[in-house]
Amino acid sequence: MTTTEHLADTVENAAANPETPQPFRELGLKDDEYARIREILGRRPTDAELAMYSVMWSEHCSYKSSKVHLKYFGETTTDEMREHMLAGIGENAGVVDIGDGWAVTFKVESHNHPSYVEPYQGAATGVGGIVRDILAMGARPLAVMDPLRFGPADAPDTRRVLPGIVAGVGGYGNCLGLPNIGGEVVFDETYAGNPLVNALCVGAMRVEDLHLAHASGTGNKIILFGARTGLDGIGGVSVLASETFSGDESAGKRKKLPSVQVGDPFTEKVLIECCLELFQSGIVVGIQDLGGAGLSCATAELASAGDGGMHVDLDLVPLRAEGMTPAEVLSSESQERMCAVVEPSNVDAFMAVCAKWDVIATVIGEVTDGDRLVIDWHGQTVVDVPPRTVAHEGPVYNRPIERPADQDALIANAPDALARPSTPEELRETILKMIASPNLCSRGWVTEQYDRYVRGNTVLAQPNDTGVLRIDEETGRGIALATDCNGRYCKLDPYVGAKLALAEAYRNVAVSGAAPLAVTNCLNFGSPEDPAVMWQFEQAVRGLADGCVELGLPVTGGNVSFYNQTGSTAILPTPVVGVLGVLDDVRRRVPSGIGNEAGETLLLLGE
């Protein structure tokens, strides 16, 4: 290796060489976005700063196309709906008070694109990521669910993707000791080439243990702990590396890096126990998970949520690969890492807990009294930015919206035209065909690969429509969770379709004997640059929010996944809705299905 590789682009260098061309378009930034970064900084960004802004201002991290619509959730939530809510949209995950001093936190997130590239690892790290979100709130993760969508069951690519995704969800979740209490498996041709892997995690804590991460208190230490940082998932940012690695062999190699991350559930399991012990002993100010955008995201978010600045020394970050550039260290999506803010007097105690669990922990910086996020590398400053501009003040777009021209034709093409079974034989045949169809047949092949028993609190799981967990062994207090979405309804009418998804999850929770309490969602759509998709999105958000008002439930959090399409064909609009309910005593749960006892009476409620 040559020595030139370490000549990182410093702030000083950026100021001195304002016209150095930068590959901002390859990193996904638009011309005006790049111009805004230059304006914020009063100079061109360094490579490391460019890497930070480009990931943090991506659709995935900044919600730039969805923000203006998601506001509607907040606007429609009344104080009454907020009654049980302890934390809502904007936090890692929503938190609700379920009584008896228990707080429950839950969230669903997508990991669609990585799961298409590498099904097993994509799905596995999807589970790993959502679990760390829940953990960062101070809660013990208790269970997972996995709403999945695939192309046609007999399509060759589904045969590649489905077994890997199911094995990945199971492989990671089983090894973490989190029961899988439900999910969905839906097939539709629009998901061929773009499967959906949504992962939900639910956790619980005592109300007084709720932790919201922020870096406050000058002098407090920033500690990175968990796995080492490697070249995982930095696919895009390797464009920058090739610049610095001017023409030598490794440049070529670096460029080909797949942007896949490999999960290590064992490390995460140990990290969970370690974090819970840290929270328990009260020696952390806050803990932030590292997910997409890695350290860029964690440092910028911690700093902008706090009241000061932050200084980080990147040389201290334990690395797994040689010759990483500062931009790569900041953007690496290596899994199973967390970042904590710790008062200096507690650092030793913190390190002792990490040592007990064999978790690597390193002080990488501290909270400063300035208002800048400053990051050094080899003694020189490579990042010097106002953290809010990275984490919260990204671009916001009012994308064009247009109801698709063919929507009326689609609606007009009603099922009335279809032939109906008219004889008992035809009816029998239709029923047999239906129950054997991929969308209705047994999910046993999938659910058998998931541990639903671990920890001994699973009261209902498959084949029930709702998962029910015991939270308190003394009182029997527990929760119910269901996720639902019919993308075909949403395609016909995204507003009503989203309401129906909510209504279905709500019903499923209610019939298990639980009182519905809160809603989360994962909004999977096509490209936001397509006005028809934006229309679907806007309608779905309004439908879901209005439905929540009618039912009196708050949306406590969610996730948006855009660009789910193959070529110009978008997936069915798929706003997956999760409803959380509470049972005073899980012994009074109602399993789904009939025929448990002889002589049962069947009643049909509603119209």
């Binding site: 492989g171 058998e448 541990d451 671990v454």
Partner: protein, 225 residues
């Protein structure tokens, strides 16, 4: 004083809370044991619970067998202390040489979680006296590497000496030799079982409460001793 049942936690152990709960349901005192300690804390029996110790990346149980606490378990077992290895615990006991054979990847190559019928073949071990001989019980099975293998002479010996403790009935879920779900040592004190009796102690959270018998049995065994 109620008997004390130790439950070991390795990094990556998952079913320790369940094993401890099962011990409590049987009215024993559950005593947590830490992998890194050379100390059994005066317990009367030990459960090596399920999970993925050290991630099970190399081979299930391969690394856990070297933990300091296992040295103590091996010593105590040789002196006759009842030891139950469940799932990963069974794998660890085999790796540690306390039980013969090994557990390999399921013949179907997938992790399997299902409610499994078992036949109690030996109701005379420290962990099975509360069952009628030939009783059939329903408990969860959840494992990816649960296929019991041993060479022919070992299998013959186990069969001849009645050391097959439980057998799968209603279909072999993983390709185990002779449908073997669990085996015991020559004295009937150390038992390894692939399915999870600790997940079947209460019909609220498991398929049945058929598993409780194992924890009640060991109380009889240690009280008698």
């Amino acid at each position: 004083m109620s008997p004390r049942i130790g439950v070991i936690t390795f990094p990556g152990t998952l079913d320790d809370v369940d094993a401890a709960r099962a011990a409590r349901y049987a009215e024993a005192e559950a005593v947590p044991l830490w992998h890194a300690d050379h100390d059994l804390r005066g317990v009367d029996a030990v459960i090596v619970p399920g999970g993925f110790s050290y991630g099970d990346y190399l081979r299930c149980g391969a690394i856990a067998k070297f933990a300091p606490v296992m040295t103590e378990v091996i010593d105590a077992a040789k002196k006759g202390m009842p030891v139950l290895g469940i799932c990963n615990g069974f794998q660890i006991l085999c790796e540690a040489g306390l039980l013969p054979g090994a557990l390999l990847r399921n013949a179907g190559l997938h992790f399997v979680c299902r409610d499994q019928w078992l036949k109690v073949e030996n109701a005379g071990t420290a962990w099975t006296t509360r069952y009628e001989p030939d009783a059939e019980i329903l408990v969860p099975l959840k494992s990816g590497e649960g296929r019991y293998v041993a060479d022919q002479s070992t299998v013959d010996e186990l069969e001849a000496e009645g050391r097959v403790v439980m057998r799968y009935v209603g279909g072999n879920p993983n390709g185990s030799r002779n449908d073997i779900a669990g085996v015991t040592d020559a004295r009937g004190r150390v038992v390894g079982l692939m399915p999870h009796p600790e997940h079947a102690i209460d019909a609220l959270t498991g398929p049945t409460d058929d598993g409780l018998g194992m924890f009640l049995s060991v109380l009889d065994a240690v009280v008698k001793a």
